[in-house]
């Protein structure tokens, strides 16, 4: 159908449209008009992707000078493929409607097997790829630096974007890394020797270039050709490479010294935590390495690798990593911390020293993106509370909106189970974690649910350790045996192959009527990215609140940083983080309007306003006061009723006019009135 969105003609490749899609496009258009950034939350399964694509492409066609390119970032390869599929549909619709062959070029960077290196791709109108191509400085430099300024960047499924940013800027160095780096340096040395004998002029030429400084890079940045690389801050470009590392041999010697220093640091017996300036002072005292040459390390290495004409850069990943670390540690005095741990917490007897150079400020990695591109859209099914993202990513959005799901029948049923039948409070909090009564009641909940929920149930625990304890205890109490009469039990483990096997068998059991339960872990592989549509997930049970492991030193440092820099209290951030993972977990069950599922929060803490208020609006609005602190029995009664209601025949006609609209229905005055209420501005 053809839509008119505030004067913009939008081609929409389906005959029906959800009201929230229309509302979403409205907000999106306003964001593009204002040339600003936006944060938009809309439930999964309501057609976010196609709304985004239709509107932005229509915008691109209408104002070719305002918006030249769409950069669509998603998380995983299957998601990227889904985007491409929708895009293909849209393009077919365009060529059918307008009659002209389309002159749009779209490019997807998914995996190496689909890679094309034709120069034309630089002019593609739409680029679809993974986050890392834009955020990770190592890859962004190769792929994204030539993207035009007038692009619209979309981060889909962006609820974890801060963690992606942090990961992309953090460096972990182990003994193995250093050994490999040592090999790299040796290879470099040999190559330099060889070249010196055959082609000394080349090295001299490089030297001359370095004296002149990195002017080229500077010119490029000023003329606005490249996306800024956060590893290579502006100041470096103004200066020439310091004399100490200008010649190739000197640089290699410099790297050796740096390497030896790192090795000595890894020989610690106790945990060391220090800031970047402390680290720099220490390195100066011990091996007389100044801050300045360290800052040029990454650029100098790139130059050397180019000069030596080394084809396979992947072999030199270790030395690249170390030189990136050197540049980062000497550039940013804030936002990073260095933690050296001689062993892992779980295995205190095995020496396995790791140097964590950990980024605590996600805004460092994403800053160039916000600065460079005129519109950046952050969107996902679960982004609540919306206002925290602009704060931790340090940007100012022009639109922030949360959309609800219009439903012809209430197809989701969130229940908060706070008590067992014996009135024991259910909670996964630390003090009651070992409590026998809580574990038994949790078991009872799962047992009762396994008897009334058809096909598949997915249960999430807060951690692997907690899951192991509980399952062992259930086994001893004979609860597992009782559950197995109703359903088969599958368990997610840390082994990826084992888990995918379990998942496959789980789906088979759901398919042939035996019924199955999948026990998995929040933040695990299953909780992110695997959908349990229809019968694969009729109920999700969340045992406890999935707080992150708070004893980790990296986390503690980050919390401290957030408090000092962004005035976000530790507790607020931890709750926010726990609730977004809980929302992700329970959101696995509802993947569309014809789907239905129970969402059971089994912890009394969910009933509190500070937890509940952080759930996405489309879940929150279905939690009524009556379902806040239920016992297991009450939950079972409600669930039974819900499942019977949902099993009644449901056809497309029932949705029409309410949650599914034709063009005429959309244009009615009354409906437009209603649509304005869908978006909830913050």
């Amino acid at each position: 159908m053809k839509l008119n969105i505030e004067g913009l003609l939008v081609y929409f490749p389906y005959d029906y449209i959800y009201p929230e899609q229309y509302s979403y496009m409205l907000e999106l258009k306003r964001t593009l008009d204002a040339k600003g950034h936006g944060v938009l939350e809309m439930p999964s399964g309501t057609g976010k992707t196609i709304s985004l694509l239709s509107l932005i492409i229509a915008y691109q066609r209408a104002f070719p000078l305002e918006v030249t390119k769409l950069i669509y970032c998603s998380r995983t390869v299957p998601e990227i493929e889904k985007v491409i599929e929708e895009l293909r549909k849209l393009m077919e619709f365009y060529s059918k409607e307008t009659g002209e062959s389309n002159n749009f070029l779209a490019l997807a960077l998914s995996s190496r097997k689909n890679l094309c290196i034709h120069p034309e791709i630089l002019h593609a109108n739409i680029v679809v790829y993974s986050y890392h191509y834009l955020l990770d400085p190592k890859i962004a430099d190769l792929v994204s630096k030539e993207l035009a300024k007038k692009s619209v960047v979309v981060f889909d499924e962006a609820h974890n974007i801060d963690n992606v940013c942090i990961d992309s800027m953090s460096v972990n160095i182990t003994r193995r890394t250093l050994d490999r780096c040592q090999n790299n340096v040796d290879t470099l040395q040999n190559t330099i020797h060889k070249i010196k004998e055959t082609d000394a002029a080349k090295l001299r030429e490089e030297y001359r270039r370095l004296v002149e400084g990195l002017k080229e890079a500077n010119v490029a940045r000023e003329t606005d050709i490249y996306l800024a690389n956060p590893v290579l801050p502006d100041e470096i470009l103004q200066e020439a490479v310091p004399g100490t590392i200008r010649t190739a041999e000197h640089f290699v010697g410099f790297l050796r010294r740096f390497l030896e220093y790192l090795k000595s640091r890894l020989r610690v017996q106790h945990v060391v935590q220090e800031s970047a300036p402390q680290f720099l002072k220490d390195i100066f005292d011990k091996v007389c390495i100044d801050r300045k040459p360290l800052r040029f390390c990454a650029e100098r290495l790139q130059s050397l690798l180019r000069t030596l004409e080394i084809a396979d850069i992947a072999d030199f990943s270790a030395v690249t990593l170390i030189s990136n670390f050197a540049t980062l540690v000497s550039t940013y005095s804030q936002g990073f911390t260095i933690i050296i741990e001689p062993f892992e917490d779980r295995t205190p007897t095995i020496a396995n020293p790791v140097l964590h150079f950990s980024c605590m400020d996600p805004s460092i990695a994403i800053k160039p993106v916000f600065q460079r591109f005129q519109s950046v859209i952050i969107t996902s099914g679960t982004l609540s509370p919306l206002d925290i993202y602009p704060r931790i990513l340090d940007f100012r959005p022009v639109t922030m909106a949360s959309f609800t799901m219009t439903l012809a029948r209430t197809c989701l049923c969130p229940l908060i189970v706070g008590r067992g039948n014996d009135q024991v409070a259910l909670s996964s909090k630390f003090e009651t974690r070992e409590d026998f009564a809580v574990i038994r009641n949790y078991g009872n909940l799962l047992l009762e649910m396994s008897a009334i929920v058809p096909d598949g149930i997915v249960a999430f625990f807060t951690s692997y350790v907690y899951m192991e304890n509980i399952v062992a205890s259930w086994y001893e109490q004979g609860i597992l045996e009782n559950i197995q009469r109703n359903k088969l039990i599958f368990i997610e483990t840390q082994d990826a192959a084992e888990t995918s096997m379990a998942l496959e068998k789980y789906q088979e059991a759901c398919e042939n009527g035996r019924g199955a339960i999948l026990l998995s872990v929040a933040r695990g592989k299953v909780s992110e990215g695997i959908d349990f549509v229809h019968h694969f997930g009729r109920a999700v049970i969340m045992f406890g609140v999935p707080y992150v492991y708070t004893q980790s030193r990296i986390l503690k440092a980050r919390l401290e940083y957030l408090r000092d820099q962004f005035q976000i209290r530790e507790n607020d951030f931890l709750t926010f983080d726990a609730m977004r993972h809980a929302a992700q977990c329970v959101g696995r069950a509802i993947r569309g309007k014809t789907d239905y599922g129970l969402m059971i929060f089994a912890d009394k803490r969910y009933a509190r306003a500070d937890k509940r208020g952080k759930l996405p609006r489309w879940i929150q609005e279905h939690i009524n006061d009556g379902s806040l602190n239920l016992t297991v029995d009450e939950a079972v009664q409600l669930a039974k009723h819900f499942l019977r209601q949902m099993a009644q025949p449901f056809r497309q006609e029932d949705q029409l006019g309410l949650s599914l609209l034709t063009l005429e229905q959309l244009q009615s005055e009354e409906m437009l009135q209603k649509i304005t209420q869908i978006a909830h501005q913050t």
């Binding site: 012809a408 009469r485 398919e511 499942l643 019977r644 949902m646 009644q648």
Partner: protein
Amino acid sequence: MDEEPERAKRWEGGYERTWEVLKEDESGSLKATVEEILFQSKRKRCVYVCVCVLIMRHLYVVIDCSRSMEDQDLKPNRLTSTLKLMEAFVDEYFDQNPISQVCLHRNPKKHIAALKKAVDTVCVGEPSLYNSLNQALQSLKHMPGHTSREILIILSSLTTCDPANIYELIKTLKSLKVRVSVIGLSAEVRVCTVLTRETGGLYHVILDESHFKELLMMHVKPPPASSSSECSLIRMGFPQHTVAALTDQDAKPSFSMSHLDSSSGPGLSLGGYFCPQCHAKYTELPVECKVCGLTLVSAPHLARSFHHLFPLQAFVESPLEELQGDRYCQACQGELKDKSIFTCTSCHSVFCVECDVFIHDTLHCCPCCIHSQVTPL
């Protein structure tokens, strides 16, 4: 529409939130309720179309007797409640389809007796959809092609323990044109959805006991025939009922053939139906003659099955305001109060919605049309 019968004593009811039902109106159209959707489908069933149906049916009813039948959400428990409704179903079924069979028997009394006995069954273990379907299939596949092959499963459990891949069996069922319908007592199970969709049956899940009854009665009506089903002529006997006068000294009491294998019931009787082919005596019709295999029916039986072939035309619905003259329903003589009225297409009599449903579901003929045919005499 009509008042729901009091299902159980209030204190026997489960944990219910009666106050929440009241909220549905004010929350507006965003939260359209399931009840409304159900009402729509009820209205839809009032549309009567003339379809070709199979009037000779072979129906297997499978009742789940697994552990979950002990559940007390139907009173007193699922099993007892199911069996009680099944008795009504069997009665109704034979009333509407006299020449059909349930589990290869024609005699409703036998079924009811068996159902009564089953009340005391202790429900244990898990059910197997595969085994029950397979067993039913073994007998159904020998049925002639002009009859329908149907299986109705009352499934309470949400799990099934199968010895083999059920999807293979579904393929077999489909190829043998067996129509499988399922009534679920607890929730929607995926495999049943697939099973019924593939075999062309119906799948419903009950809301409560009255809904359960409604769903069961839906299976009384014969299913539409597929175009590929065979047609054939069947020999039938129409025996006359002969009554011997008690005063007649020559009359000798004799045994009915149908009582040969059952010990209960009256043994000797005077009159009865005699097979026109071999003169075997039966006290009840319809029956298949034990001696010569002839199907014995009476004309009214055939007529009752017949109405499925020629259903009464749907009445025309129109708003009450358009009606001229007296506002009385021609059937119940009550005042017409509802928004819409129903008019018979042939005699133009006006009926209320309750009478419309009653005429189509039970009478199968318009009382006014018949009345006008009778008057000239």
